[in-house]
Every structure is written in C-alpha cells, then in structure tokens.
C-alpha cells in the first residue's frame, strides 16, 4: 500500500468512529414543555432546562421543527417596568452549567404552528449545536395556569 492509501484509510476510520464528547452529546434536557396557546393565537412559548454535563462549552445555534414556521430563542428584558422580547443569536452553556428558559426570563417562540397546538400533544424540537450535531427533544403541550 502506498503512503496515500494509508492516509485515506486512516481518514475513513476516523470518520467511522462514533462521535463522542461533542457539545450536543453532552447536553441533557429537562422539563421541556410548551404553553398551550389560546385559540386563534399563532405563537406559543416553550420552556426547558438545559444541562451541559460535558467538559466543553455547548452552543445551540438554532432550533428547527416541523411543528412551526419558525422556532426562535427569545429573552425577556425588563427596562424599568417595560418588558422587551429580544431574539437570541445562540445559547451558550459553559461546562457543568445549567440554563433554564422560564416564564419572564427566556422562552422559545414557536411561530405559526402548522396545526394548532393543543394540550396533551407532544412536539419534537431539534436543537442544532455549533458542530452541526442535533439533539431531538420532546416538548409536552400543557395548559398552564
């Protein structure tokens, strides 16, 4: 075998090895739920807790789902008494840290659902990490009081 053949063989082996320790693999999702929107309302908020159990910083670049036209990450900023909803470019979670999207702080904004979101449904959302890997998470649609 030539030198180049060995190199190609090595590269192929590396690509075949299961990817472990990458940011998306080290993410643990907890308490994932969506607030059931009132009838005729075309946006809904999703909440979750994300735990980075790995040794690298986890970066969620975006979220996609067949459920809606778009899923965006929004944080809520209080400016005095005013509440402002601001899009987040990404979500960065340091190793060993936990981040929670909760009412009044941050939420996923599910825009224009393809079918009405009703309590009892389960919606699958794919969290896309910076390395292109993705993590599918089930969100329960909940009637929240």
């Amino acid at each position: 075998m030539t030198k180049y053949t060995w190199r190609w063989a090595t590269l192929c082996l590396v690509l075949l090895i299961p990817r472990t320790g990458l940011p998306c693999d080290s993410i643990e999702m907890l308490d994932a739920w969506i607030r059931e929107p009132p009838p005729l309302v075309t946006v809904a908020a999703g909440y979750f807790t994300l735990k980075n159990t790995g040794s690298e910083t986890a970066v969620i670049e975006r979220i996609k789902s067949a459920c809606c036209a778009e899923v965006a990450m929004h944080k809520v900023i209080a400016i005095g008494d005013q509440m402002r909803m601001t899009p987040m470019l990404n979500l960065t979670v340091l190793p060993g840290k936990t981040v929670s999207f909760t009412t009044g702080s941050a939420h996923l904004m599910l825009i224009a659902p393809t079918t009405p979101l009703r309590r009892g449904q389960i919606v699958e959302l794919d969290f896309i990490c910076s390395d292109g890997d993705s993590l599918r998470t089930s969100f329960d649609v909940v009637y929240s009081q």
């Binding site: 607030r35 009838p39 005729l40 036209a69 509440m83 899009p87 009412t103 009044g104 009081q145």
Partner: protein, 210 residues
C-alpha cells in the same frame, strides 16, 4: 364592694380594649405601608373610550362603582401576557371566597396591538383565561390616551422572522378604584396569592380612608 370592683375592672378593660382598637384603626388609616398602594393623592382617570369585542364602547362609566384590575398586552405575546392573565384568573378565583369584594372586582385586558387583535380574536383570547374578563382595544391614539393616564407606554418593535413585530409593554397590573382613582400597581413578579392578599388590603384601606 365586690360589685364595685368588678364594674371598675370591666370599665378599665373596656377602655383599654377601646384604646387598642382606636389606635390600631388610626394606624391602619395613616399607614401606606402596603406594597403597591398609591396613596395619598392617587391620580383620577379622565374620560376615555375603548371598544369591547362586540364593538361596544368601554368608557370610564364602565369602571365607576367597581374595582378594576387593568392589564395592557397583546394576544401574540407568548410569555408575559398569558402568564399574567392566568395569574389574574387565579386571583379572581381566590377572591370568590372573600366576602364583599368579589362582586366588586372586574378585570380589563387592553390590547395594545389593534392591528392584529380585532374584536373577534380578542374576546376568544380573553375567554380562554376567564369569560368574565373584559377585552378591549381601540385605535392607537385612544389606547395611548388611556395608557398615558397610568403613566405607561408601549412600543412596536420589529423582530426578524415571520412574527414581524412585537410590542414592548408594561408587565404591571394596575388597580382603579370605584371612584376612578388609580390606587394600586402590582409589579412583576406576579404571584396570585400575594396579589390577592395585597388587593384585599388595598381595598380595605381605600374604602376605610374614603
């Protein structure tokens, strides 16, 4: 002799108890130490005009004689508005067991997004939380006039994506008394039991103060 002593003790006790009662009553009158109470000299609302879901006018006359919890928001608000309206529903339910107050309470939700909140979807939205709640809106000028009386503002803010825009607005719940005075404000964070307790205290205080 015994009778005189007993009468004297009773009179002294009565005087003591009366003194305590009057002192506490006086303290409650002068106390403004209730979080959220705007006292003394609360501003009085002037005339305003909004429309409910049936197109009927909602004016200052609809607030006279009732205690009104006012909340500004919009139906496409995914987080703060549904959370607050759900909390107000809990407050409403908790007040059902409070004698002489529940009958006087009403909740007015004012949409600051008349472009998307037409009458039909506004009432459907409000009914989802409590069918006794009143949903109202108006053109921008009339909403601004009404909101301005509470010193609150709202802004249309463009956001990327299909939602197009959002509305910045106050997250506070505002309290208007039966004489149209803006007497209370419940700021974030909202917790139903806390709001109910303070609301009852404020109503009691204001009714007592006159």
């Amino acid at each position: 002799m015994h009778t005189k002593i007993i009468i004297s003790v009773v009179v002294l006790c009565a005087a003591f108890a009366g003194g305590i009662y009057l002192t506490s009553k006086d303290q409650s009158r002068s106390s403004t130490n209730i979080l959220g109470l705007l006292w003394p000299d609360p501003p009085t609302l002037s005339s305003f005009s909004l429309n409910d879901s049936n197109g009927n006018a909602v004016t200052e006359r609809d607030l006279q004689g009732r205690w009104t919890l006012v909340f500004f928001g919009f139906s496409n608000c995914p987080d703060i508005c549904p959370t607050t309206l759900a909390t107000l529903n809990q407050v409403y339910e908790q007040l059902q067991s409070v004698e002489n107050i529940f009958e006087k309470i009403q909740v007015l939700f004012v949409s600051v997004d008349p472009e998307r909140d037409n009458n039909q979807n506004l009432q459907t939205y409000v009914d989802y939380f409590n069918s006794a709640f009143i949903g109202a809106t108006a053109d921008d000028e009339r909403i601004k006039h009404f909101a301005g009386q509470f010193g609150v503002a709202y802004f249309k803010v463009k956001i990327p994506g299909p939602a197009g825009y959002s509305m910045d607005h106050t997250a506070s719940v505002l309290l208007v008394d039966p004489q149209l005075r803006f007497v209370g404000i419940f700021s974030q964070p909202h917790e139903a039991t806390d709001i109910t307790a303070r609301l009852v205290k404020i109503i009691s205080f204001v009714e007592d103060a006159g």
